[in-house]
C-alpha cells in the first residue's frame, strides 16, 4: 500500500467532484432533495375530500347529521343531490370521491334505536380517498348517534357510559402523538445517505467508459490503492450530508434528536464504509454507467425501500427476505438512525448493528478487490 498512490487518486477524484457540476449535484444535493421530496410526499394527510349527499329523509335530524358530516376539513360537501343518477354523474366526472345516501327512515329508526340506515358509495378507482371518506363518515356517524342516543338512555335510567363499555388508555412512548414524520424522516435519512454508493459505482464505470481505466491499469498502482483512493472522497461527501440532513430534520421538520450526535456521526461513517463498498462492487462488475445506475437501484435503493424496514416491518417478512435484509447495510443503519433520533439510545443497544456494518464493509471490500483485476477483458 502506497500512501502516495492513494492520495493521488483521492485528490484527482475530489477535483472531479468539485469541478464537474453534474457529479457535484449527484453527490451533494441529491440526498437533500430526495429527503425533502419524500418527506412531503409520504406524509401527506388527506383533506377536503369532495362528497355528494342524497338525503331521502329530509327531517330535522337528518339535516343535523349532514351538518355534522361536513363540519371538519376532512370532507367537503360538493353538492346535495336529488337522485342516484346525479350521484353517478358526479362520480363519473370525478367531481366527488364518495357519496352518502340517507334512507327515508333514517331519523325514525335512529330514535327508535333500530340503527341508522344509510349507504356510502365510493369511487373504487381511487380506493385511497374512497376509504378515507368511508372511515370519516363512519366515525362522524358514531359520534352523532352517541349524542342523539345518550339523552334517551339517560331518560331510561342508564348511565351514558353504557354506550362506551371499553375504557382504553393508549400511551405512545418515544414519539408522543404518533407523528408519522418523526418516525419516517430518520428512516428516510438512512436511505438517502446511501446515495454516495451510486456515485462511486458511477465513478468507476465512468473511468471504464472514458478509457482512463485502461490507462490506470497500465500504471503500477495497486488494486486496493485504487479502490480505497476512489472511496475516500465519497465517504467525505457522504459525511457532509450526515451533518446537513439531521440539521434539516430538526430545524425544518421539527423532528426531535434525542441521542448523541458524535455517536450518530461515528456510526454514520461506518455505514458510509459499508454502503460504499457495495457501490464499489457494482462499479467493479458493471462496464457502463447506465448498467451501474440500473444495478444500483436494484441493489441499493429498491431494497432500501422494502427490506430495511423503513416502510414495512421486517418481522412481517418471509424468512428469506429477512435474511437478505441482514446483508443490507441500510437495514442496520435505519435501526441506528431511528434509535438515536427518537429514543436516543446509545452504544449499549446499538453495538450489534455497528458490528454488522463493519463486517459487511470488510466483506464487500474483500469481494470487490478479489474480483477487480488489473486486466482488460
Amino acid at each position: 500500500m502506497s500512501f502516495r498512490h492513494i492520495l493521488a487518486i483521492t485528490r484527482k477524484e475530489f477535483n472531479h467532484i468539485l469541478r464537474d457540476r453534474s457529479t457535484m449535484i449527484l453527490v451533494v444535493f441529491t440526498p437533500l432533495v430526495m429527503l425533502l421530496l419524500m418527506a412531503y410526499a409520504l406524509t401527506v394527510e388527506l383533506q377536503h375530500i369532495p362528497i355528494a349527499i342524497l338525503d331521502y329523509d329530509r327531517s330535522a335530524t337528518s339535516r343535523d347529521f349532514v351538518q355534522q358530516i361536513v363540519s371538519g376539513n376532512d370532507l367537503d360537501l360538493y353538492a346535495q343531490v336529488g337522485s342516484i343518477a346525479e350521484i353517478e354523474d358526479l362520480l363519473m366526472h370525478g367531481d366527488v370521491k364518495a357519496a352518502l345516501v340517507i334512507d327515508p327512515n333514517f331519523s325514525r329508526d335512529l330514535l327508535a334505536m333500530r340503527g341508522m340506515p344509510m349507504q356510502v358509495i365510493i369511487d373504487g378507482t381511487e380506493p385511497e380517498s374512497g376509504g378515507f371518506a368511508v372511515e370519516h363518515i363512519a366515525s362522524r356517524a358514531e359520534e352523532f348517534a352517541n349524542k342523539a342516543l345518550s339523552t334517551q338512555i339517560q331518560m331510561m335510567g342508564f348511565s351514558a357510559d353504557a354506550l362506551n363499555p371499553l375504557d382504553l388508555r393508549i400511551r405512545t412512548w418515544y414519539n408522543p402523538g404518533l407523528k408519522p414524520r418523526n418516525d419516517l424522516i430518520p428512516g428516510l435519512i438512512s436511505m438517502v445517505l446511501g446515495m454516495p454508493a451510486l456515485s462511486v459505482a458511477l465513478a468507476l464505470a465512468h473511468e471504464r467508459e472514458h478509457g482512463t481505466m485502461e490507462q490506470l491499469m497500465a500504471t503500477p498502482i495497486g488494486r486496493g490503492e485504487l479502490l480505497i483512493g476512489k472511496m475516500i472522497p465519497y465517504i467525505v461527501a457522504g459525511l457532509v450530508n450526515v451533518v446537513i440532513l439531521p440539521l434539516l430534520a430538526i430545524s425544518w421538520f421539527n423532528v426531535p434528536f434525542n441521542g448523541s450526535f458524535p455517536l450518530f456521526f461515528a456510526l454514520s461513517a461506518l455505514f458510509m464504509f459499508a454502503v460504499l463498498s457495495m457501490g464499489i462492487i457494482i462499479g467493479v462488475f458493471m462496464k457502463s454507467q447506465a448498467a451501474a445506475m440500473g444495478v444500483s437501484f436494484l441493489m441499493i435503493f429498491f431494497p432500501g425501500f422494502f427490506l430495511t424496514g423503513i416502510f414495512f416491518p421486517i418481522v412481517s417478512m418471509p424468512e428469506i427476505m429477512r435474511l437478505e435484509s441482514l446483508g443490507m447495510p441500510g437495514t442496520h443503519y435505519a435501526t441506528i438512525t431511528r434509535g438515536i433520533f427518537l429514543p436516543g439510545v446509545g452504544m449499549e443497544i446499538l453495538w450489534p448493528y455497528a458490528v454488522m456494518l463493519v463486517l459487511l464493509g470488510f466483506s464487500f471490500t474483500g469481494i470487490a478487490s478479489l474480483f477487480f483485476k488489473k486486466k482488460l477483458g
Partner: protein
C-alpha cells in the same frame, strides 16, 4: 542487432470465438522504433495490450524488459509507458495536474518532479497551457499531453496505440518529431499506425494480418519485396485512362491519387513504352510519365491484396 528487449514466442490471445493474436513471434531490439501496421481488426491493439500486461496470454511466452509476461506483468508496468488508442486524460484536471497525477502513480522522486514536468511541457510545447484544463485543449495538444504523461517516469519502452489517429497533419508531424527525438535518446518505441508515411519513418515495420505477423523488416526491404516497379503519369482524363491501362498486359495493379495514376507493372521500362503508346493511340492527353519510387502505401496495399487473394 543490439540486445533484445521484447521477445515473444508463439504469443496468442483468444477472445470468445476469435483468435485476435495468433502465434506471434516477435523480437524487438533495444532502442528500436518499431512500427506495427495492418488493417483494422488485425490484432494490433491486442498485441500492444498484451505487451503492456493488460491482457493475459492464452498461449505462448513473452518477456518484456527482462520480465516474464505471464508471471510478472505487474513488475513490467513501471518500465513501460503505454498510451491507449482512446487515451483519455482527466478532462477536469489541468495540464500540470494530469502530469503530477501520473508522476505520483509512477513514484517519480519528488525532487525530480519540477524539472521533469518542466522539460516535458517544453518538449510537448505545452508550457503556456500549464493551467488549462485537459478537456479544453485541442485534439493534437491532448495527444501530446497524453504522451508527456506516459513519459513522466522515463520508461525504457514506449507502447503507443495509434497515437496520431484523428490529429491534424501539423500536430502529427510535431508528434513524430518528438518520437524521433526519443528514439535518438535510446528509448525503445513500438507504435501502431494506420498511416503509411509514419510506417516509413520506423526503423522496422511489422505487418499484422488476421492476428499473424506476415512480414517484419525495414521499410526499405518491404518496399523492395514488391514484385515489379511503379509507373506514374498525370492526366486529366484519369477515369478513362485507368479503364484503358489496367487491362493491359503486365499491369498488376492500378491506383489513382488525384490526377496521378500509379501502376504496378512487372517491368518498368518495357511497360512504360507500351502504356504511353496505348494512351496516345486512344487520344488521352497525359504528361510526366515516369518510373516512380515505390511508397510504403503501395507496398502495403499490394501485400494485403495478395493476402486476401490467397484466402479466396
Amino acid at each position: 542487432m543490439t540486445d533484445t528487449i521484447i521477445q515473444t514466442t508463439g504469443l496468442s490471445r483468444n477472445f470468445k470465438k476469435t483468435r485476435a493474436v495468433d502465434t506471434l513471434d516477435l523480437a524487438i531490439g533495444n532502442g528500436e522504433l518499431f512500427g506495427l501496421v495492418g488493417p483494422d481488426g488485425a490484432g494490433k491493439t491486442t498485441t500492444l495490450r498484451l505487451l503492456a500486461g493488460l491482457l493475459s496470454l492464452s498461449e505462448g511466452e513473452a518477456t518484456v524488459a527482462g520480465y516474464d509476461l505471464r508471471k510478472q506483468s505487474e513488475s513490467i508496468k513501471k518500465h513501460i509507458g503505454y498510451m491507449a488508442q482512446q487515451f483519455s486524460l482527466y478532462a477536469e484536471l489541468t495540464v500540470l495536474e494530469n502530469l503530477r497525477f501520473f508522476a505520483d502513480l509512477y513514484d517519480v522522486p519528488k525532487e525530480e518532479m519540477a524539472e521533469r514536468t518542466e522539460n516535458l511541457l517544453q518538449f510537448a510545447r505545452l508550457t503556456e497551457f500549464t493551467d488549462r484544463r485537459a478537456g479544453h485543449l485541442s485534439g493534437g495538444m491532448q495527444k501530446k499531453l497524453a504522451l508527456a504523461c506516459t513519459l513522466i517516469h522515463e520508461p525504457k519502452i514506449l507502447l503507443l496505440d495509434e497515437p496520431t489517429t484523428g490529429v491534424d497533419p501539423i500536430s502529427r508531424r510535431e508528434f513524430w518529431d518528438i518520437l524521433t527525438n526519443l528514439h535518438l535518446n535510446g528509448t525503445t518505441i513500438i507504435v501502431s499506425t494506420p498511416y503509411m508515411d509514419e510506417a516509413d519513418r520506423c526503423s522496422r515495420v511489422g505487418l499484422i494480418y488476421e492476428g499473424k505477423l506476415v512480414i517484419c523488416d525495414s521499410p526499405r526491404k518491404i518496399k523492395a519485396e514488391l514484385p515489379g516497379e511503379m509507373v506514374e503519369f498525370l492526366t486529366d482524363e484519369w477515369q478513362k485512362a485507368k479503364t484503358l491501362v489496367e487491362n493491359l498486359p503486365g499491369v498488376l495493379e492500378a491506383q489513382t491519387y488525384g490526377e496521378a495514376l500509379h501502376l504496378l507493372v512487372d517491368d518498368g521500362d518495357k511497360r512504360l513504352k507500351q502504356i504511353t503508346k496505348a494512351l496516345t493511340k486512344n487520344g488521352i492527353e497525359f504528361r510526366g510519365a515516369r518510373i516512380a519510387p515505390v511508397r510504403m502505401e503501395e507496398a502495403f496495399i499490394s501485400l494485403i491484396q495478395r493476402l486476401e487473394d490467397d484466402n479466396g
